[in-house]
Amino acid sequence: MRDTAARAVAAEPARRPERGPVIETRGLTKRYRGGQVAVDGLDLGVPDGSVFGFLGPNGSGKTTTIRMLLGLIDPTAGSVRVLGRPMPAAARAVLPHVGALIEGPAAYGFLSGRDNLLRYDRADPSADPRTRGARVDDALDRVGLAAAAGKKARAYSLGMKQRLGLAAALLRPRRLLVLDEPTNGLDPQGMREIRALVRELAAEGTTVFLSSHLLDEIEQVCTHAAVMARGRLLVQGPVADLAARARGRLAVTTPDPEHAVRILEEHGLTGLLADGDRVSADAPPGDVEPADLSAALVHGGVRVRSFGVERASLEDAFLALTGEGFDVAG
């Protein structure tokens, strides 16, 4: 991948004034043949310029939603607008501005990586054939696949295929990227590169909609997030707000755990847990000053080794929301 800084600087003028949501769904519902409701009354709003994380356990309807966004399957009910236009009716006008990775990459094994991209680009009637070669090389370069461009795709590893899929999404400058689990199959270095790439694209003004299982990934790159479970949207909004919803934990390390639990209980703390020399509790409400609790402990004769409030992670928020956590819903 190329130097991020230069690109980001050059791309700065591309920032546009705020526009309406890039993706907007109303009561979006999909019932597959066989009766299963995969997506149920989804109202999603993806702000322009955001990096939007789409979270949910396996089978919660993320890929189904993405297929509807891209016009691959028809909703059973509800509507989708992408870039302000209805899908799938305006697919021909909208999709050239949308790059997508849907449920893993797919390539023609008997073609080289480069020829795969040429084929995908030729499929788009609005792509300029004169710049085709240059755009393909640029995309390969961006995902770090330039050296393997001439190799047959069947000889690619999973991570290389994933990169090729990303390159296909980057064949043209896009206003929206829809990435379904983009770091699937990548090594840690590859994941970091993809995250850097996502940030870079976002800096250029591209809205990125990405589904993921990796909460810390969402936390690291996303500005906004939505959480799905069993086809329903549980919550959506800025990542900071979501994390703030889940209360953090107060943690105390002490050689006198029983004593500490009693004192904290007296001060009205809930969710108390003692584990060896570690005592934790739900973080106190905003009007309680943690320093006062610390003083109370010391005053009560508890020897405190460490004391602190641990910030809630998105994972905590997620677990709090879905309850059952990351299990597949029947």
Binding site: A10, G71, A93, I102, R119, R122, A123, D124
Partner: protein, 298 residues
Amino acid sequence: MSRADLTTAVADGVPGAPRRALWTFGILRSELTTTLRRGRTLVLLGVLAAVPVLVGVAVRIETGDGSSAGPDGPHGPAFLAQVAGNGLFLVFAALSATLPVFLPMAVGVVAGDSVAGEAGGGTLRYLLVAPAGRARLLLAKYAAVLAFCLVATLVVAVSALAVGALLFPVGEVTTISGTRIGLGEGLLRAGLIAVAVAVSLTGFAALGLFVSTLTNSGIAAMAATVGVLITVQILDTMPQLDAIHPYLFPHYWLSFADLLRDPLYWDGIVSDLGLQAVYVAVFGSAAWARFTAKDITA
């Protein structure tokens, strides 16, 4: 493309303003080259090219040194008896030998796999979000299958012509009507026959395309298409089903021999073309209706 170009392009990318005409031939060319570059396509063409070689060598061995042996009885495929006397007849003999099964089977494999294979491989969804456009992609696919019909037929014809010229004397052609026409005219007739054979495969190609839109498994679509071919070929030989024979797509296939009459006799060919047109219309529309409304979940 320079950095600055990219940036401006991002800035003024406004939906609803595609830069160029909606139809370009890029996708058609892409379909053709992708089809013809597949190992499988090349194997099919190789097998088709080998048929005239086998037939030619067999005839050559049977007739010894290649001296023009007379017709050796009423057995064997059409035109086989004349091959030893005139290598050009190997073209007609090879087309007669491959038309009932080999040629349509190859077409069935390519047509059956055309949409289903891409669906199974997952590439279909990426073509559609490119966006290729469903009707446009289907049309390009059908055009590529038609091109394959022509290429496959020409491979048989050209291979037969080369083998025939190599192993046997080539000269004036005696038509089925018994008149003699010059070699040039004979070659022209051979070309005409090759085109007629290719065109008579179009109906079956449309059927294969339709079958291909029904499943996400390339293998299943190929097997089903070839299965239909064999079934229909069997039905076409059952005298009890005389009444439906005129509606079976292979029924007039061998009428291409009429192009070797003097004067040319068109009735069979016209019936064949009419029937193929009906099949193309029916199964083409069915494929279109199915594909444009289909949920792409693979």
